[in-house]
Symmetry: none
Subunit: 200 residues, 4 copies
């Protein structure tokens, strides 16, 4: 194969990994097929990853970095909690709906039992929740969010709602963009007003 910058090669493998693992699941995704999709030979994979599981780790790592970067900017923005949560959701759903294959992988494999690496490192859903949790805690500090809430529980609520939308999108073909706008807003709105009539 033609020489490329190592970083490109690794990137190609990561992308192939996403395709194949999303399609087949981690266990049924063979290194051979990942190599084939990446346009590379199996041996080459092992120049960039020490084993198959590392590919999955790396996929999650990249996602975590993207989230972390966005999150850092978000918290630095000085916006009120409601707005940061809205933006975080919008961005999470936006990316998820734009790349359903990857989203499927992230949802399917997030609980995969891990041997070598600490669970914290892999667990993408935990990262998501802890981002939202921090936003909630900031809201509590600034007084916009009720102090008696359990941020952990509410963050589960928020991510749960968002994932609902993502999972639903796996089974439908409707245009994601509308859904996205609506869904983020709807989640925030629901959090704002509660779900019951009258008795607030």
């Amino acid at each position: 194969m033609t020489r490329k910058k190592p970083s490109e090669r690794k990137e190609e493998i990561r992308e192939a990994g996403i395709k194949v693992i999303a399609e087949e699941g981690f266990h049924d995704a063979t290194t051979d097929s990942i190599a084939e999709v990446a346009g590379v030979s199996v041996g080459t994979i092992y120049n960039y990853f020490s084993n198959k599981e590392e590919i999955l780790h790396y996929i999650f790592e990249v996602e975590r970095e993207k989230i972390t970067d966005f999150f850092t900017g978000l918290t630095a923005s000085g916006l009120p909690a409601e707005e940061t949560i809205r933006r975080f959701l919008k961005r999470y759903l936006g990316r998820a709906l734009k790349n359903r294959r990857k989203s499927k992988l992230l949802l399917d494999e997030e609980h995969r039992p891990v041997k070598k690496v600490s669970m914290e490192i892999l667990d993408y859903s935990m990262l998501l929740k802890s981002c939202v949790k921090e936003l909630l805690e900031a809201g509590i500090s600034e007084g916009s969010i009720r102090g008696e809430l359990d941020p952990e529980l509410v963050s589960g609520m928020i991510i749960g709602a968002a994932d609902s939308v993502v999972v639903k999108s796996f089974f439908t073909d409707d245009c994601p963009d509308d859904v996205l706008e609506g869904a983020s807003e709807e989640i925030v709105e629901t959090l704002k007003r509660g779900i019951f009539n009258c008795e607030n």
Copy 2:
């Protein structure tokens, strides 16, 4: 080995399956170890299940039946939506926290790609969500829940919140019973009042 009633034997294998699969994950759970834990020889497993995957299916099937049974009684009770949701949650969390191993399995394996059976049948989380969704729709009908909500999204929210609690419990050793009471109530309360201060 001494003869037993087939239903007992199958039950023993199911329970062993839960233990081993929860511990190792479906793929790493070997049929040999399931057999060993069940106190049975490998061959015996195949008198009750046509293959390893069927064990997992059966585990989910039994859980689904339990939920469905409880849900049927609940909807027949004529209680107001808020109360049915509270009870459903209490019961879901109660069982989950009492049997963390099984809960771990249910959460870990619910997204497993399925070959033979329709996704709907296996997908335990979908059943949960659709139960909650029905309770929400009943609430909308009876007027106690705001009609403009998307029941699908809110059910994701509720199950997401509950699973948050369950996942958290995997890492802590505190007494589940308090948590349980508190958590169900807290979820309902949050749904009632929304999360933001003042501006309702």
Copy 3:
């Protein structure tokens, strides 16, 4: 199951064995399916046969006995060799074409490598050939058959021709009875006149 004379039971198993082994081949014929076809439980098979291979042995044994009985009568008849060969063939083909399933089994399994029992005992085709060989040797003694022939080779020729007809019948559905008459006669005729024109 209702009590039966042991001999009937053994006979039922033999017949079931023929059906299943002819259909599936010896290896793929499970003792379970033989038992099922025989209307008996697996355990019962082992009251009549010490193992699966014994069923096959017994099937061949019965066939060998039938042939031997017929052959004994034939040699005692004092008929000329040509006629005895004709009759032997007619009977062989007659039975084969009437019971193609069994014939298939006999042809398929005759070469099966045998562990426990001497080859002679199993080898049905050898018995057939040696019968024909004896008839040929009698013909040589009586002077009707040319003495310079190798009876072994010629018996292979005769059985080969007959099996040709049998194998062909597996793929056709035409009425066996005509075929039978014709084929035996044709074989004898060919043996008589040779296959080449003029130069005899």
Copy 4:
């Protein structure tokens, strides 16, 4: 292990397959033992064959090709039918007697029930018979063979006679070369003169 040309490796496995399958029978020939005899690991077998049965197929395929090649040359030779039959037999017996192990395999496994491939393709004995059949038909066309004969039946006769010799050789240790010369000639001679005295 050192790299080799794929064709060599496949050939080594084919040869090992012949040895082990001839010795043990197809079913009792384990992939492990074939690999061991081939001086290769099990996995390597599966780089060249998709499953165990394919090894058997390939063994037959190679034999069929050899026969077909020889046969093609033979029919192109323009020799009279009697001579072509004599040569075909000589060659068939020559190879069979020189490689008894392989011959045993070919005779033992030719009736093996086949799942994937059409019977015609596998059935080596059918190929043999159809070659002889064509030679006979050519003889009928050229007028040297009696037109009222059934070529199918006579070809069974000829191959039956030849196989007689081959099977006999499994139990004897005498020098094949003499046998070979004698046997082919004897078969042709018998076909020529018939077996009975006087009455031609």
